[in-house]
């Protein structure tokens, strides 16, 4: 275990930024936080989490895939992929680190998504353990330990120091470069902090939420549950839940006409939208109830069915905090899952 005193934190950031772009949660003027690039003097936010998740780093909201240039009867296809440089994402919470595993399942299984893979290979993740979980947190439901996040390096912040432990080769290489600013630290401070956080985790209101009623093979049992009608009755059909979600990974590919060619890009799509997965025959989900059900069945049934039982929710609580009508996966799990237990 290594440690860096908190008064050297800016020096640590500066050192990281010498070799790679450094991104971290930064406070916005309105009390929220978002990931931004560090530059001299940029303060690391104390916020529990950012409004948007860090999935943008690997799977940006919009991304050019290729370009076509036309000249006379010739069409030139331009590959816009470029070798990207190493970058560090600092301060990622346990839930969001886990979301990268889920995204990997989608983008790194054959056929691999080269755009995602490139960024993933160059991204170095420094996670940080939670100390002040919110009422909306339920990562424990998905087997995530908020005090022991994964990532290339795991960090714990105490009163006066940042404790750091490398988990991977990439992580060790990063810490080696920072050696001047680091000293040996004892595990005791970290253990004590973890114990303290665990006491709060034990008090979380959503602690009892379980996935028992969900998982692969449950399609038949859950699909026609009458509760979907009431749960989806007032859904606005906006994309807030999907866009703040760290694991939602659906996208659309579109062509933008530049006048003398085409930019083919992809952008996040939302299963809440009426035009989602529109096909030649029209739409396959005509009502908001069907679209709403799709989102939760995907996370709780279809995804685990196709991915060795892995649920595609990490309990970060963003949708709980941001849905305009406060309808969310917890309310769905309690209603649909609760029915099964009775």
């Amino acid at each position: 275990m290594l440690k860096c005193s908190l008064d050297k934190l800016q020096a640590l950031f500066a050192k990281i930024a010498e070799n790679a772009k450094l991104y971290l949660p930064i406070d916005n003027s309105d009390g929220t936080a978002s990931y931004g690039e560090w530059s001299e003097g940029t303060a690391w936010s104390n916020a529990l989490n950012t409004t948007k998740s860090p999935k943008d780093f690997f799977f940006p909201q919009t991304e050019d895939l290729m370009k076509f240039k036309t000249e006379g009867k010739n069409i030139e296809v331009i590959d816009v992929r470029r070798e990207c440089e190493d970058f560090v994402i600092f301060g990622v919470r346990a839930c969001d680190v886990k979301s990268f595993d889920i995204l990997d399942r989608v983008f790194l299984t054959e056929p691999r998504d080269s755009y995602y893979a490139m960024k993933r290979a160059h991204g170095i993740i420094v996670s940080v353990a939670c100390q002040k979980p919110a009422e909306t947190c339920f990562c424990g439901t998905f087997g995530i330990d908020a005090t022991e996040p994964a990532g290339d390096v795991t960090a714990w912040k105490s009163e006066d120091a940042l404790y750091l432990r490398a988990n991977t080769e990439k992580g060790s290489a990063l810490l080696d470069k920072l050696a001047d600013l680091l000293e040996e630290g004892s595990d005791e401070a970290v253990t004590a902090q973890k114990e303290k956080t665990k006491k709060i985790l034990d008090k979380l209101p959503l602690k009892e939420l379980t996935t028992d009623a969900f998982g692969g093979g449950k399609t038949k049992e859950l699909f026609d549950d009458p509760a979907w009608d009431a749960l989806s009755a007032t859904c606005l059909g906006c994309g807030t839940c999907t866009f703040v979600c760290p694991t939602c990974q659906c996208y659309d590919i579109k062509d933008f006409n530049t006048g003398n060619g085409v930019v083919r890009y992809r952008c996040w799509d939302s299963c809440m939208y009426s035009e989602f997965t529109r096909m030649a025959h029209g739409n396959n989900r005509l009502t908001q109830k069907e679209r709403f059900r799709q989102r939760f069945m995907h996370k709780l049934v279809y995804f685990p069915e196709n991915n060795d039982g892995m649920f595609s929710c990490v309990g970060c609580g963003r949708c709980l905090a941001k849905c305009p009508i406060s309808m969310n996966i917890v309310k769905v799990m309690k209603k649909i899952g609760g029915n099964k237990g009775e």
């Binding site: 409004t51 002040k132 919110a134 909306t136 709060i200 209101p205």
Partner: protein, 332 residues
Amino acid sequence: MQKITREQLLEKACALLASGEVSCVLGWGAGEFGYDVTPTVFKTAEELKEGFVFGDFCGVNFSKYLVSKTQKLEGKILVFLKPCDTYSFNQLLTEHRFDREKVYAVGIPCEGMADIAKVKAIAGEGIVSIEAKGEKLLVTTLYEDAPVEIDAKDVLAERCVNCKSKKHVAYDELLGEEGDVLDSARFDEVARLEAMTPDERFAFWQNELSKCIRCNACRDACPACTCEKCVFDNPNSGVENKSPANSFEEKMFHIIRAFHVAGRCTDCGECSRVCPQNIPLHLLNRKFIKDINEFYGEYQAGAEVGARAPLVNYTTEDLEPGEVFDRRGENA
């Protein structure tokens, strides 16, 4: 904080269901933490008794739901309307967006709704429950041993701090006392933006609108946005986009939307309430309202059904475009 109680509303709803006057109730459903209230369709007295709540976090404007619900649900719908909601209700009726005969509207008084972000700023994170006690809110959090007591008036939502009216302009039945149209300071922030130089103002909106993630929540919650197929959802429109393709495109979306609802927006404030990025979208709409008031005389959309709104009416007194330009000189 609210003068009308859950029990009074529950009693009214159960009585109307029992008499057969209405077949369902559009009301507020209980959440997990006291503030995360979900608009809910209740069909029986049992459902109401189990899940219906009313309190300081019931800010959702139900009026827009009537457009779809009156088409889908059988029988009459009971809807509870706060004063500001009744303006949206009338505006939708003016635009023939739902069948008035299928709605039983109960006007309820409102003392202003709370903004959970303001509650968190005072009481801290980790809110597990909130209880109203007179003018106070008792906020229980994971991090304080005893509930934190805060003044409800300190956490009022912006739109309630600047409440424009406690008067109901539409209802079948009114519970509690009728209020008055109020003088509010709602245009102060617009005036502040108007006083900026064009560059400052551009920078302000550039900063705000660049936060947009194009979730469309503002549009989907807006009672003035009731097109069955929004131009931005229509793949044949040429402007359909699921993402902010660039910063110009993003500003275009919000500014076009503001133009589209100009003269019809009642300033209910739902757009800003639902924005996950806290963009003060209501300021765009208030700018139009302020301009309309200044150019054509005071006009409040939704104040009466069937009103000829200034932008869709012609009078010989209408001012000429040149006069609009003159008004601001170089800053126009």
